[in-house]
Symmetry: C2
DNA sequence: CGCAAGGTTGACTAGTCTCAATCCTTGTGG
DNA sequence: CCACAAGGATTGAGACTAGTCAACCTTGCG
């Protein structure tokens, strides 16, 4: 069931009484289980080419985690850049804002994905990172990573690849924004999310969207009403079933062919 | 098609007579002046923090240049990734293509700028790089760069920064594609080019566009007719003067305020 | 000189946005 | 436990932006 899954990821949720348990729980996690070597997401964010020795050293670098509550910022544009982050639980959006207030969501990040690399070039972040739900991240202090890269060819390679991957990801988003119709954008977005859910061991066919229609719209370059209409259209055409934030992908092939 | 592409790789292509002079000319450049230490673009593409010794080693890595004629590909999507490139003379566009033929131009690269970083993550390029005019590049074999990075903290830092910078550049393009009107896109594009021309010591107010209206459109997410109309509108409003590929920016402030 | 490629402009159309009303879900406080 | 408030989602009608198709113009080059 979807709900069960949600609870599994995210030991706490919203309501007032759980507040404390969220804090407590996160602390527990971070002290109890902060070793990359035993983390279930390890293959997702640490190079699996590291030697046992390197892994140990890497573990030491990534010694702290940080909880970020829904709607809170992990970092903001212009914040001094100190660390990059791996999503440990929950999810984030990153966004850049224009002076006039228009915002563009530049990415959604799920468990195991790395964010914050935008800060390397100017030693300041150029985007905001906001938690879509109560989440936590592993903190990887950049200066330590940098020095370890000098010693570990594997890690250096991984860093460069991760960055390159972000470049490629952004190019395909540019393609989406520059060339696709609203319907195609939504279809592409859903398929992308779907495959990332599968990679994480969840159902690719049925999952919960963590973002609002407006956030999707800001990501896909359209208004929230248009997102909603496209969902309705895809549902009418029998490609998906939606109910609020729950989504079921009925016909992935047709979705890819939109 | 494939054949053409293959020939494009190879400097000895098409028609006879000026072929030779282009070749000869490039050879001359590449033997005479291929040292980064004396290159006028040095500050643009090499970290100026390298020691004399490191610079010498870097010079040895970047020992070859390659001419690319107008319209030819420096690399194509799916080509095995071997090197990154610094534009030595001329200019390039990079683009990603959808199966149905729609293409999105992901960047224009001027002298001193580095391209090819998209290939690091998958060891294959994910985009095409096409020369907008007869151009030449410095070839930086990635495996050599990578090993030198292990020894030179400065170079490693520069590599990571260059990548991060590309990530940031792409985010602002996403903002442009996702949130701006056609007129704003064109205005933003012109101002961006303008400041890059200034950085290179050219007039920021008056320069030649190296790309067609269609290429601009594919970059800015609109049709070539719309680009043309926006140019006409900006001219009517007295913000720019255009005549074919020549452009003069009359009122940069108004352009920024569009 | 003539052709081909690139650029401009106009008329019409399609797709997305805007504004507004209504519905649904979720969390809160009585 | 229920009622209500508030934020999020859906749907419709009309406006407007950019796309399409087509004609024509300009430029560079063989």
């Amino acid at each position: 069931m979807l709900l069960e899954r949600d609870f599994a990821r995210d030991a706490s949720t919203s309501s007032a009484s759980d507040e404390m348990s969220w804090e407590t729980c996160t602390r527990k996690i971070s002290s109890a289980q902060t070793r990359c070597s035993t983390c279930s997401l390890r293959s997702a964010c640490v190079p699996n080419t590291l030697t046992a020795q390197e892994l140990e050293r890497f573990d030491a670098i990534v010694s702290t985690t940080r909880p970020v509550k829904r709607g809170e910022a992990l970092y903001r544009a212009h914040d001094p850049f100190q660390s990059i982050y791996a999503v440990r639980a929950g999810s984030f959006k990153t966004m850049v804002m224009h002076r006039d207030g228009r915002e563009q969501v530049t990415g959604f990040y799920l468990a195991g994905e790395v964010l914050g690399l935008d800060g390397v070039c100017a030693e300041r972040h150029s985007s905001d990172a906001i938690a879509l739900e109560d989440s936590s991240v592993c903190i990887m202090p950049y200066s330590l990573l940098e020095s370890m890269c000098a010693d570990s060819k594997q890690l250096q390679q991984q860093m460069l690849r991760t960055m390159s991957n972000e470049i490629v990801r952004e190019s395909s988003l540019m393609m989406l924004l520059g060339t696709m119709s609203a319907e195609q954008r939504v279809a592409t977005f859903l398929l992308n999310l779907s495959s990332r859910m599968r990679e994480r061991g969840y159902s690719a066919a049925e999952f919960n969207l963590r973002m609002t229609r407006e956030e999707m719209g800001n990501y896909l370059g359209m208004k929230l009403e248009t997102v909603s209409r496209m969902f309705s259209k895809l549902q009418r055409d029998g490609l998906v079933e939606t109910r609020g934030k729950k989504i079921r992908i009925v016909d992935p092939n047709a979705l890819a062919a939109v």
